[in-house]
Symmetry: C2
Subunit: 195 residues, 2 copies
Amino acid sequence: MNITDRQQEIMDTAIAIIAEEGIQKLTTKALSRRIGISEPALYRHFENKLAILVAILEHFSQWSRIVLWEIVESDRSPEDKIRELFRRHAVRFVESPATSAVLFSEEIFKNHPELVQSMTGIMSAAEGFVRHILEEGIAAGRLRADVPLEHLAMVTLGALRLLVTRWRLNDYGFDLQAESDRLAGSVVAMVAVSP
Amino acid sequence: MNITDRQQEIMDTAIAIIAEEGIQKLTTKALSRRIGISEPALYRHFENKLAILVAILEHFSQWSRIVLWEIVESDRSPEDKIRELFRRHAVRFVESPATSAVLFSEEIFKNHPELVQSMTGIMSAAEGFVRHILEEGIAAGRLRADVPLEHLAMVTLGALRLLVTRWRLNDYGFDLQAESDRLAGSVVAMVAVSP
DNA sequence: ACTTGTAGTGAGTATTCACTAACCAAAAGA
DNA sequence: TCTTTTGGTTAGTGAATACTCACTACAAGT
């Protein structure tokens, strides 16, 4: 079941609408109009509206898994892996700001349990990878062992999420990549053992 | 313009609906039905639906200001103030879980700029108070000065937000107060100067 | 006693929602 | 060449949406 060009176009447009106007404005009318086709034409490519959202989340889920896997498997130091985690996310969000509106705001899918599950799946996968990185760092004696692993992960991911959320609420109005690098440095400093 | 009992009931019910079913299910029909009055009766107490949401945010804004002010003004140590910040929020959310769904998910109001502004106002007020606490701690030499103040604030608030978000997505299924206390301890450890 | 304000009602309104039926042109396969 | 598949159209559907209308029971003032 490969994704056709038209399906990708529909997904991209849907993401753009969510990012710019919120999920409530994602209607079949708005979506078809923006693409330049009729409403029924959408149903030639997706069974229903929910299927579009499911496809979008599946798409993000795959991206997330690939990126995190690459970072974990690389032969960087744990500290560098954390910095890379921030960097890769920032690059992606700057390339496609709409992405951040979907990936970091689980609320928007609240109405359908199917989507909530998909979203929590993405979140806990990310958590798992980050824990893995941190565990490695603790074992190597480079990251602090005086606070629970889960809290290291929560601080790391919480900071990244909050920065991105701010960026979005700020209408993408500052240099996310630069800010993300700076924040990553600080997070690493706080997560590492004191020198 | 004091809030009447009925207005408060409408606001509380609206918050409950948002928490349980998401903002999309907050309809005049669902709201009136749950209270046990007719739809038109709502309009005896609020001009329109938007006015209900505005009143809710105003309510949160006041609570937030009062709590943060009390913490800042108390004569605790900076570390204790941070712990207190976590504790007070946890207490509030446990008392009224619905609260967290509104206070920590700015996305849900995206459709109306008026509400977004109100929300960002609440957020940046909180940020300001937390910065104040941290600044105090740095000046006293108790909190680390090797990372920028704004990053200390981002890590602190980001961790708190993420914990609460998890709790909510987890259907309020763990002891937030206990977890929040534990997390606060770790955050303080990471934000404080190494002993 | 009479007037007025409050808080409610049932029955609508126009509009929007996701989605369907029926049809059509053109490309692809046989 | 004939038939099927693909991707599109116009014109609808019933249900849901926020909100209004005309009306009423009733309590409070004066």
